[in-house]
């Protein structure tokens, strides 16, 4: 792999445009306006084409202005159509942006007959070419695209920094914001204006498809990783920048492993951010799939372990001196626990709640006390549901059986107090006293 200053500039340009998109994308995701990024980034196309046809040049400024204006118009039209038509919001966006996009394609075709403006360039961008178009700044040759995107990122940072509070409240609870005199509509359109401008600024380098990815994916990923808005903003921007780096690295290395030359950096950036999302979705500490499955599994294991202790306690209550000890096979049948009985028994042994000799399962002192506590919760629930809530005709046993696993000591005592400290449950069994 050969790394030149070209590659550095490609990564920098990609990272800047991705970061500028990702920062605003947080608010689109949180406002459930993800489709709006899609809509605006498609709808600006006729703006680009018109600016181009009118001025006859690919100069950035008129393009930026023209496209941004159309982008904002899209946001207005979506809102207006939504209000007037009773269509759902997604449908109104779909209607408007596809129409605009088609119009843009026609206009670009027309324009392309005269000068070179390539529709595919709008879709996929031409980030590999950006280092060729440089701007002299303090003796340094900096790609124009990098400067544009840096400027856009700076504007977005300023906007988010200045209106952090206002963006937060209007995203979370626009009605409250309005009653406080914070104009949610104004902020909505300010945000849409910046989304449009950012989209246009990023177009040239990364193309419209990647713009959509960068508006949504880093923010969605960051939301899985944190519960704090500030952290979410920072993480999304870092993910965006990381995607640019990994994307370019991937573009110049991965194809060579298979004997091809390099591939599109913008495409690889999209793949990279998608992969980062996938990994996060699977492995995020709190909201990832794996940790959720693990938590679920732990919970079901706890329930089986609880049931074993409850069973052992009840057996202890009923057994005659000559009764044989409980066997693992009995537990399996009685509790219908299936395979999860074994890890549960193992866990109980480690906790010192049971002893196991051959197939016999014997409760220890601690085990019996824990069992007593569970059975107490269970029978207290039954009394409470029966007496206080008059639910006796229904199956209070099943409900109590579910509730007992989620009843801690203080709740169980509150129950006892509210049902008048009963000793006998509705099935006329002794409610065990609180173990010492």
């Amino acid at each position: 792999m050969e790394w030149t200053s070209f590659d550095t500039w490609i990564v920098v340009t990609g990272a800047l445009s991705a970061a500028a998109c990702a920062l605003l994308g947080n608010y689109l995701v949180l406002r459930k306006l993800s489709m709006m990024g899609d809509a605006i980034s498609h709808a600006v196309l006729p703006g680009l084409a018109l600016a181009f046809i009118i001025t006859g040049s690919r100069d950035s400024l008129p393009m930026l202005v023209g496209a941004t204006a159309i982008g904002v118009l899209t946001a207005f039209l979506v809102q207006a159509l939504f209000r007037l038509s009773e269509l759902e919001k997604g449908a109104t966006m779909g209607v408007i942006f596809t129409t605009f996009f088609a119009l843009g394609l026609i206009l670009i075709r027309q324009a392309a007959d005269h000068v070179d403006l390539d529709p595919s360039c709008v879709l996929y961008g031409a980030i590999e070419l950006t280092p060729l178009d440089v701007y002299e700044l303090m003796g340094m040759e900096i790609p124009r695209a990098a400067l544009t995107n840096l400027g856009m990122l700076a504007v977005n940072l300023l906007f988010v920094g200045l209106f952090y509070k206002e963006l937060k409240i209007t995203s979370f609870d626009p009605a409250l914001a309005t009653t406080l005199g914070i104009n949610a509509t104004f902020l909505h359109y300010a945000l849409m204006t910046l989304v449009a401008a950012t989209t246009v600024a990023a177009f040239e380098s990364v193309g419209s498809i990647l713009v959509i990815a960068m508006l949504i994916v880093p923010a969605a990923t960051a939301h899985l990783l944190t519960d704090r808005l500030g952290a979410m903003l920072v993480i999304s921007v870092l993910i965006a920048a990381l995607s640019a780096l990994l994307g370019h690295l991937g573009a110049i290395t991965v194809p060579t492993w298979f004997g091809f030359t390099d591939t599109s950096t913008a495409g690889m950036m999209g793949v990279a951010t998608g992969l980062i999302f996938l990994v996060t979705f699977l492995l995020a500490p709190r909201y990832g799939v794996v940790s959720r499955v693990l938590r679920q599994w732990q919970l079901s294991l706890k329930i089986v372990a609880d049931d074993v202790l409850g069973f052992l306690y009840r057996y202890e209550e009923l057994k005659q001196p000559q009764s044989p000890p409980v066997q693992a096979g009995d537990l399996q049948k009685a509790l219908k626990a299936g395979g999860s009985l074994w890890p549960a028994l193992w866990q109980l042994k480690r906790r010192g709640a049971i002893r196991q000799t051959a197939d016999d399962v014997l409760p220890t002192e601690t085990g019996l006390a824990q069992g007593a506590r569970l059975v107490r919760s269970h029978r207290l629930w039954e009394s409470y549901l029966c007496d206080a809530l008059q639910m006796c005709p229904t199956d209070v046993h099943a409900l109590a059986h579910d509730l007992e696993h989620f009843t801690d000591a203080s709740m169980s005592e509150a129950l006892a107090r509210q049902s008048g400290d009963p000793n006998i449950d509705p099935h006329e069994r002794q409610i065990p006293p609180l173990p010492k």
Partner: protein, 274 residues
Amino acid sequence: MATPQPQRDALVQDTPLWIHDLTVAYHRKPVLWDVNLSLPEGQLVAVVGPNGAGKSTLIKAVQGLVPRASGAISVFGKPYEEQRHLVGYVPQRESVDWDFPVNALDVVTMGLYRQIGWCRPVNRRHKAQAMAALEKVGMTPYAHRQISHLSGGQQQRVFLARALVQDAQLYLMDEPFVGVDVATERAIVALLKDLKAAGKTCIVVHHDLQTVPTYFDHVVLLNMRVVEAGPTDAVFTEENLRKTYGGKLTLLSDALFEYSKNPQLPRGRKGGQP
């Protein structure tokens, strides 16, 4: 039901909330029709009516959150827009996304955003104020918890604390008792009593008819129109409830919908008078 002019001026003087001839329609279907109300100061007022009666719409229309087709509203004698700072709003719990990345303290602090002012950051003093409000509703231990990890009752208390920090004179609460646990219900009742003792007026949309007489001084029975409004002892009668919950008014609503296609009636946003 139109209030005569002289009386109107007398009422406008100082009642916390005065509503005259309010009509609200969604897509031309009237939801509130010709509502007239004048609510007394320093009292706990229940707004009661069946589902879809327009209770939430009434609360929202007062604050300009839904467009009114016609009617006038004043808060302590002046238009609502000039009196925002005197009004605290507790919306229905479903009205926000609880997965939003904020914690309880953040949400309560939002109640101070107007006082803090545009573009100014939240500082330690504001946080302390928010913490004090959280303490009043017994939520101190949960201040730093993300809001989706709170129970329904705790979420409701966060909303109440957010209204408390606004230090308003008039509170509008939309179904604060729905889906809350016993402890929260007690906490809310205690809070309402405190607010009343401090001379504040609370207008509370309430669904549980059983508790109306014990919790509230004043009742507004609403079903698209105001069926009856007044002190609880006088107004909260079986007969009036039957009038409110009986089927006739739904019929009226349908009839009015048909009728509203007639262009002479106020028609949604466009037909409204200023």
